[in-house]
């Protein structure tokens, strides 16, 4: 836990330092120190102030919000469905939210994007919930249905983008691969409240998720209203994921991979699992974004390419090495 925290701080520091514009460490520290009312070193230039506080800082904060949202959502879905392949994007909730985000942009710009994505994320979660209702015991089939739903909705993102005003709506690759280049303080401020609410609901369910690990019938016998709890978790995931997809698009593999790694580090109980996810999720996203904007400077690549490139093989290795991941 402490290790994760230190690693997260290091990644954040690196993200402030590295970038297309070269700054000295003292410039970065100088800007940040003044923001907390502490005059340290010589006055930084206006350029340094703009890069650190208006470009890099909101980008890092938005990355952290996204990391928390996706990792917690993945952990909660894996718990509630007792299926290691459950992931908000794989199940179609992310692509569904992206459709809403694209439509929302047409109607109301960047604030419309987040509102539209939250609504669409909840709707997709509800659709998925009704599909699950009738197939309560068929978990594998449920994952396949989610994947099919996700593929169809990804295509709809394209329709929404091409049917709309392409000068206003971000391109398809933004929605389906994600990116933080447009991150602002304003965007983070709009996204954060939804993520806070969603994360509060999900982490509040940690004990119930532990009980569900014993099995659906056992949970019912221990007083859990499994149908109701499943609906609540899915709606919370819809809100949480929608709030970040509307801001930064779909970033794959985070919700799938991070909980598995944390389970190996901190064990299977959902209390420590959520705490670990809230550290490793941001670490992974902020790190991936740092790579996305520095690997091919000055060109920035979509952050989803980086997460998929890292997480895909890692997940394969994990799944092969640890049979418990898949069994």
């Amino acid at each position: 836990m402490t290790g994760l925290f230190v690693a997260l701080l290091a990644t954040i520091a690196a993200s402030f330092y590295f970038g297309a514009v070269h700054l000295t460490p003292s410039e970065v520290v100088g800007v940040l120190a003044r923001k907390v009312g502490w005059s340290l070193g010589p006055d930084p230039s206006i350029r340094a102030e703009a890069v650190v506080w208006q470009i890099r800082a909101p980008r890092i904060v938005m990355g952290m919000v996204t990391g928390v949202a996706l990792a917690l959502s993945g952990a909660a879905l894996q718990g509630v469905f007792r299926n290691p392949m459950a992931d908000p994007h794989l199940l179609g909730i992310g692509p569904g939210a992206a459709v809403g985000g694209a439509i929302g942009t047409l109607l109301g710009g960047s604030s419309g994007a987040i509102a539209g994505a939250v609504v669409a994320g909840m709707l997709t979660a509800l659709v998925l919930r009704t599909l699950v209702e009738t197939r309560e015991t068929e978990r594998a089939r449920f994952i396949l249905m989610g994947v099919a739903l996700g593929l169809a909705l990804s295509a709809w993102v394209g329709f929404a983008v091409f049917a709309g005003d392409r000068t206003k709506v971000p391109p398809v690759e933004f929605w389906l691969l994600g990116g933080f280049s447009s991150a602002t303080w304003e965007m983070a401020g709009r996204s954060l409240p939804f993520v806070v609410i969603g994360a509060a609901v999900l982490t509040g369910g940690r004990r119930t998720l532990d009980i569900l690990t014993l099995g659906e019938a056992e949970a019912r016998h221990l007083g859990v209203d499994v149908a109701m709890f499943t609906s609540v978790v899915m709606l919370a995931v819809g809100v949480t994921v929608g709030a970040v997809v509307g801001a930064v698009g779909v970033i794959v593999f985070v919700g799938l991979l991070v909980p598995h790694v944390v389970r190996r580090l901190l064990g299977p109980r959902h209390g420590p699992l959520f705490a670990g996810c809230a550290l490793l999720g941001p670490l992974f996203i902020v790190g991936a974004d740092l790579a996305a904007r520095t690997l091919f400077t000055p060109v920035e690549i979509p952050v989803g390419l980086v997460t998929a490139a890292i997480a895909g093989p890692f997940f394969l290795w994990l799944a092969r090495r640890d049979s418990r991941v898949i069994s």
């Binding site: 004990r207 532990d210 009980i211 690990t213 014993l214 099995g215 019938a217 056992e218 019912r220 016998h221 221990l222 007083g223 859990v224 209203d225 064990g267 299977p268 109980r269 418990r324 069994s327």
Partner: protein, 264 residues
Amino acid sequence: MMPRVSLRAASYRIGSATLVDEVTIDIGELEFVSVVGPNGAGKSTLLRLVAGDLRPSAGSVTLDGAAPSDMRPEVLALVRSVLRPDAGGGIPFTVRTVVSLGRHPHRREQTNSAARDAAVVEEALAATEIAHLADRVVSTLSTGERTRVAIARVLAQDTPIVLLDEPTTALDLGHQEATMALLHGVARQGRTVVAVLHDVNAAAAYTDRIVVMDRGRVRASGRPADVLDDALLSEVYREPIRVVPHPFRGSPMVLASRPLPKDA
């Protein structure tokens, strides 16, 4: 006095199949009742009706006067606990964690406390003889050990009605006897214990009443000595069976009496 568990012409049908057919039984407190019968007799379905997992297609099932399938889950969990067969396969938690989760229904009770939770959990671990496994991960245990963990979790739930589907099937002879004696003691503490059992001898030795089921119906219900006889069991199990007194326990003992193959 009102019976704790009451079934009135309770039936459960699925499609054209009748799994439980007009069963009427009353079970009171302090009673340890076993349900026996051949595979497919409807024993587990009967238990699931009592547990509130299933709603009767006709007739009624009540626990202390209320229908379990209509009760809120968190209320029902304070009334009855349930052991399912083949419980606990892939659980990644430690034994103590799993047994502690049995305390979940009591978390909002005024009279409950963390100290009481811990005491009940330790007691359940000791009673099922798994205290030495407390820090082991459940998925690394044997089938019989996992069954005992599940029984401990059921005991930790501390409910007036305890329902168990095949609690002893996976257990060795020693743990089978210990578990039957334990459940007998649990009933004597003022609870109602209902267990689906395959071992008719264990049922005859330890339970106050045996319910013999066949094809969804109750064929007989009463004290083991009154219920178990050659004709009934031979008919129900479709196998020649004789009932003799246990040489020193006095309880009835059931013996398969099919002639052995010549070279056996």
